[in-house]
Structure formats: structure tokens, C-alpha cells
Symmetry: none
Subunit: 422 residues, 2 copies
């Protein structure tokens, strides 16, 4: 199966936006066994889009495009492809009604040019877009005039905005692919997610016990980002499931509780679900992470059942006034210290009337470091019914990565306390 992707957008070519769709779609597709063999980005210009789509159709069984379905004059994909394939564009009454409803639901008048999004090339199927106005489109190009022997291809047009593209892919494109373009081989792919250990250490710990499975065709991949390493286990063929199961067991035997989740589960979800299952509550006191932990936790639907209260206390004043940190402790140890982290966590747990509390105090940088406490120094405290545990970390990253890595470490410290049966 040959799969290609065409991303349209002048902003991509000018380097104004990052092509995160490419990674996201390639990841989802490869997890299903559809590996993209070529990805092309072109500006919002009709000749460029036409040439790229035509080239891809000359090679691929499946071509996905992203972008260019919206209402503005630089949205050209729908029209270019209809012309390339000599298909008439017809206004679809149902889509038009949905677009009208979308604006009505937001108490906004529908701009006249929004109407163009209801145009559908002849013979195309429509993928609903509950998060926006431009639906996705699926075209069966059969015979395919650009391919040797007219061999058929499928062409899927997806909208540009990520909040529209992602649910559309998951809810509509995946079921379509499994139905219309099933893979001849069965394919199993599983991801185990770890936090707190470096990529080279993860690899060192597991590669020995995976060696035989790899020789028999298991594919092992690593994906590292700050504070998290994913291990991807994939196999093709009739016994794919049992080989991935064996690899899964071997990895778990080596990494144990360093694995926090599987697939797309993220650490904040795991923590919220562990707390909810135990009917326990959490409070947060953040200094250098500045609300990052609260933001991540409250991204999880259901967080309100476990999250009691959070404080963002940058200044010494605020640490004293709102969390009850003692002036003496600040004077003697400084704001970035084990003692202050401990008092922040104890204060947040007590005032928030929570079972657990996380507190973080450190130096995010780029300024504020000293020789004794360089930029990146951070103390993470977790208060629990059994006492308060503080760890010192040195996270020498840029400011944003520092906040995210520190948030991972703090949530992981709580996860380890909650680990095991409720």
C-alpha cells in the first residue's frame, strides 16, 4: 500500500507555522499499518497544489491532503482537485444547513463566502465536521488517469485546522480506511509510555530481552521528547498479536512502573484516573511552573472531581500569605529550597482540604540563577496522608521545556505514590 500526504499552506512554506499535521497523521497512519512513503508541502497556489496531487496520484493507492477547504480566497484545494479530476462542484443542502447552524449556534451572521464550503465534487463522499464548517471529502479515483494502467486511488481531503482535522481523522477516516482499504497483512502496533528515564537507558534496559523477537521481525521504535520516552512495538503477519504480546511482557518485566501508560494515554489522565478511582483529592502550589500543572490536570475531563484548589505563588509574599510558608523558612533557606517546597505542599494540602498536594519551587530561567542554585534547580514536594516527600531536580532546558519537564516529574512523583491497587 503506497500512501502519500500533501499539506497545503503558504504559511508552511514561509515557515510561519509548524507542520504538526504531518507528524500527527503519519503517527496515526503508521500505528494502523499505513506507512506514509512521501509527504509534500506546497503553498496555497493552484498550479503547485495541482502538480503535487497529480504526482501523488500517479504513484499512490491513498493520497491525503490537508488544508485549503475553508472559506477564504486562498482556500483552493477543493476547486483545484475538482478541476484536476473533471468533476463538477455541486452545493450540498445538508452541509449548507450545518454551516448555517454552526453560525446560528454562535449568534453570528453567516458570511456569504462561507457558502463555498458546502460545495462537493461529483461522486465524493462527505466526512462530517462537528468542530467547524468545512467537511472532509473522499474521492474514489477509478480509473485513475494519472497512474499506469489507470489503477485506482483514493483521495481524502481534510480541513486545515487541527481541532477539526484530528477528530475527523479519528471518527471518520480510520473507519473508512479499515473498511475500504484493508491491509492484506494483519498489523499490530502498541506503544508503551515511560517517564523519568532517558532514551538510551530505556533502550539499554530492554534491547537484550527483545533481541530474538526483533530477529523474527518485530519492529521496535523509540520516540523521545523531554520527560517522556515511548517504546513502539509493531509486527505484521498472522502471529503479529502474539509477538507484540511477548514483546510487551518483556518490556514490562524490564521497565515495570517506569511505564505509566499505553497508546495515547497521557500522564495527567493517568493521575486524574488514579485519584478518582481512590476517591482522593489534590491541591497544587506552583511557583516556577506557573500554573502549568494545573493547566495540564484540568485538560482532563473529570478533573473537577479530584482537583480541590491551586495556587500560583511566584513571590515570597504570596507563599507566606496564601500558603502559610514561614518567613523564617524563606529567610534561612531561600524560596528555592527543600524546606519551602515542603511548607508549600503542606500548606496547600491543609488549606485545600485535600488528600494530596504537589508543590514546586525552582528557577525556570533564563534569569534568576546563582552559582549555588543555577537555573534549572527545582524542588518538587508531594504531601500525602503519610507525610511529605521532596525531590531536588536539575532541569537545564529552555523556560517552556523546563516547565513541562518539571510538571511531568511532579505528576510522576504523585503517580508513584498512588500506584498499585486502590
Amino acid at each position: 500500500m503506497i500512501v502519500e500526504m500533501v499539506n497545503t499552506g503558504s504559511e508552511l512554506m514561509l515557515g510561519r507555522v509548524l507542520n504538526s499535521h504531518q507528524q500527527w497523521l503519519c503517527r496515526r497512519l503508521s500505528d494502523l499499518g499505513y506507512v506514509v512513503t512521501r509527504q509534500i508541502a506546497v503553498p496555497d497556489m493552484a498550479p503547485e497544489i495541482e502538480l503535487a496531487v497529480r504526482d501523488s496520484l500517479s504513484r499512490a493507492d491513498l493520497v491525503l491532503t490537508t488544508g485549503g477547504l475553508g472559506p477564504t480566497t486562498d482556500d483552493l484545494t477543493r476547486e483545484v482537485i475538482a478541476r484536476l479530476l473533471s468533476r463538477a462542484l455541486r452545493e450540498d443542502a445538508e452541509i449548507l444547513a450545518q454551516i448555517q447552524a454552526f453560525f446560528a449556534g454562535r449568534n453570528r451572521p453567516m458570511p456569504e463566502q462561507a457558502r463555498v464550503q458546502a460545495l462537493v465534487p461529483e461522486g465524493a463522499s462527505v466526512l462530517p465536521n462537528p468542530h467547524g464548517t468545512a467537511p472532509g471529502l473522499v474521492l474514489h479515483v477509478n480509473p485513475n488517469p494519472f497512474r499506469n494502467g489507470g489503477k485506482e486511488s483514493w483521495l481524502i481531503l481534510l480541513p486545515g485546522p487541527g481541532r477539526e482535522l484530528r477528530p475527523m481523522f479519528t471518527d471518520s477516516v480510520v473507519p473508512f480506511l479499515l473498511r475500504a482499504l484493508p491491509l492484506s497483512d494483519s498489523f499490530v502496533c502498541r506503544t508503551l509510555r515511560t517517564t523519568g528515564i532517558a532514551e538510551s537507558i530505556v533502550q539499554e534496559r530492554i534491547e537484550g530481552s527483545l533481541r530474538e523477537l526483533v530477529l523474527s521481525g518485530l519492529d521496535v521504535g523509540y520516540c523521545a521528547r523531554p520527560g517522556q520516552v515511548d517504546v513502539r512495538l509493531a509486527a505484521r503477519g498472522d502471529d503479529a498479536e502474539s509477538r507484540v504480546d511477548a514483546a510487551d511482557a518483556a518490556v514490562r518485566a524490564q521497565l515495570g512502573s517506569d511505564i505509566f501508560g499505553t497508546g495515547d494515554e497521557n500522564l495527567e489522565e493517568v493521575v486524574v484516573h488514579l485519584l478518582a478511582a481512590r476517591k482522593k483529592t489534590l491541591a497544587l502550589a506552583e511557583s516556577c511552573t506557573g500554573g502549568c500543572i494545573a493547566h495540564q490536570l484540568t485538560n482532563v475531563s473529570g478533573a473537577s472531581a479530584v482537583f480541590r484548589a491551586g495556587w500560583v505563588t511566584y513571590s515570597n509574599d504570596a507563599k507566606q500569605k496564601f500558603l502559610g510558608v514561614r518567613a523564617e523558612t524563606l529567610d534561612r533557606h531561600g524560596a528555592v529550597s527543600e524546606a519551602v517546597a515542603r511548607e508549600m505542599a503542606d500548606g496547600a494540602r491543609h488549606l485545600g482540604e485535600a488528600d494530596y498536594a504537589i508543590a514546586v519551587t525552582g528557577i525556570a530561567g533564563p534569569t534568576g540563577g546563582t552559582p549555588a542554585k543555577p537555573t534549572g534547580t527545582v524542588f518538587i514536594a508531594v504531601a500525602s496522608p503519610k507525610g511529605t516527600q521532596v525531590r531536588e531536580m536539575h532541569n537545564t532546558w529552555d523556560r517552556l521545556t523546563f516547565k513541562e519537564v518539571t510538571a511531568r516529574q511532579a505528576l510522576n512523583q504523585l503517580r508513584r505514590l498512588l500506584h498499585g491497587p486502590p
Copy 2:
């Protein structure tokens, strides 16, 4: 000038890593006026790399490749391109000495396979790599066997690791381009960033006054994400600067203070800088945004000078206990109400001893909505020395987008209060 880029890497195609080189290089190139017209990513496989480079050479004056110059078995670019152009590979004594010095300087033995990086295709110029072992290469393809009439092209091979590629581009590629491939036209590109208005409305308001400039060759682009629309104005030629200036003035006349910044400035930076310039401080009381506003603000270096304290108060209890919201107000109006937003903001401003306070209370969803107050309903209050202003918004997005859009609106409401000379 036609410019294309080929990124090699199987991990790109599997969606395991983000193609940040593409954005970085496209941005630098376009700022110099070399706009990339096509970008292609292919896996680390010889036939795919060969086909992509050959295709690009058939169209482009300048082709840049990234990746595949290292010492491992999946590094194929150098060899594939030498073969494609029928150029012999010769070991360069100077490069070999540099590679040996690189390992000696790290007290590590040089692996035998590292030697392959000293191979140079006949006629190529070498770009030094002070941050790694694989040098970059520049090939003048003249005559170009893949292009109509044999028209010449330039081919530049860059290493994959960002810490090697970026300085090599800045220190060696840019001077080379300016010398060997000077642009006949000057090029000017400017971005104006707006918030609070939909993409189609932005376009509707400005397209009339830009029409003549567009007819004379001005390029206008829109980039929309939730809560933000960027307008990009670009022109080429001797009068590029004055045409972009004229377009800039025309857009500002129409959009006025809906424009919050230019270039890469983001809203949280603008707000932190406005507060800092006025020596004013801010407190935050967040319910449904759950720390998102605090997180965004504290991403800005220097936020500590203006940010007094933040509260994340999901529950009614916490709103009363920590912010002084009255039980009576909660009983009479409910937690999601103008009155509660006002009392949260007033409480945060008073307790945080700040000049301004933002408070947000609403229903992020997916659960918690009622017929009277559906999911997406949110009240945003900004307290200032002159009083407290509350706005009701309906942000019907998924949970994460809801939080981000609401944070944009809240920061923008404060920005509008701070707007004008200090």
C-alpha cells in the same frame, strides 16, 4: 528563483519526530526572500531519496536536503546523490583530520564507520561543521541532466541534527546564497496579528482596501488558529517596502486595535510588556480555564515582575474560602454568572494586592452544561483601578480549545484596557 527542500528520515514518516527543520529553514529562507515552493519528506531509503532529489532538480534552481549524512547504515544521502550525479566519492584528508580531532577532543576512539563522513563527491564544496562530524556539501549541477535545456541548479546537503544544521545554515549557507544566488528582486514580508475576530470577518474588513495593492502584486495570506488570525503582507521588487508599508497602513486603518502585535509576538508577551511598561501588576482567579492563563503568562520571561498571584478555584468552596466570593452570590446566581466572575476578580485584585485582576468562570465541557447555561458559556471579568468589567462569551469548542480561546479573550480584554500610551 525556485527553491525546494527534501527532508530525509524514516522517523518523520512514522510520525515519531516533528519536522521542525522544515519550519526553521523555510522561515530563514523566506526572510531572505528565497521562498520554498515545495518541501518533500521521504524515508531513509535509497530509491525514495533518489527519486525526490531528481524530481526537485528537474524543477528548482536551489535544492536543499537535510539528514542522511551521518555514519550509520541508514545514512544514505551522500552516496545516493553522488551516484545520481555520477560523481566519484573521494576521501578528503582535511575533513578526516577534523573528524579525528572531534573524537580526540572528547577522549573517545573514532569508530571506523565515522570515516565515511570524510567522503566528498567530486567537485563539491565543503561546509564546515563545528558542532558535529558530518560536513555539509554544496554541488553545482551544471549542466543539470534532469532539467529542461540542462539549466544549472545548486544542491546543498545539510546534516540532520538541529544543533549542527542551524549554525551551518546561518554561518555558511546564508553567505553562500547571497554570493552565488543573489535575488534579482528585493522581498519584504510582514505579519500583523489579530485576536477576537473570525478569519472571514478579518478578510471582509480589509480586502476592499487592499484590492489595488493585490492587483499590483501584493501577496496577502491569512493564518487562523482558535482565537487568533494573522494577516501576512508580502511583496517583491524595488518598491516592495513601500507597497508593504501601504498595505500595513490600510490594514491598520480597518482593524485598528484588533491588531495586538506583529511578527512572532504573542498576546501574553504583549500583555506582560504592557503591564511592565506601566509598572502595574496582575492577579488571576481561574475556574474553568484551570490555570491556562497563568501558564501562558508565566511562559513569558519577566512575568514575575508583573504577576502577583493566581488561584485555580474549581469548587464553590474554594471560590468562597480563597477569593471571598459570597455564599449568597453563589446561591442566587450560580457559580457561572456575571456576579460571581465580578466577585472573583475583585477578590483576587484585593487579596493579591494587584492593580488588575482577571477572573474566569464558565463551563468547559464536555459535561456540566444546562439548558440555561450550555457548555461553552463563560464570564470573563477584568478588575482595574477604575472598576470591574464583565463579558459573557459562548465558546463552543472542545475542552482544550475552550480553555485556550477563553484565555485569549481574557488576556485581550485586559490588553484593551491597557492599550494606548503608558
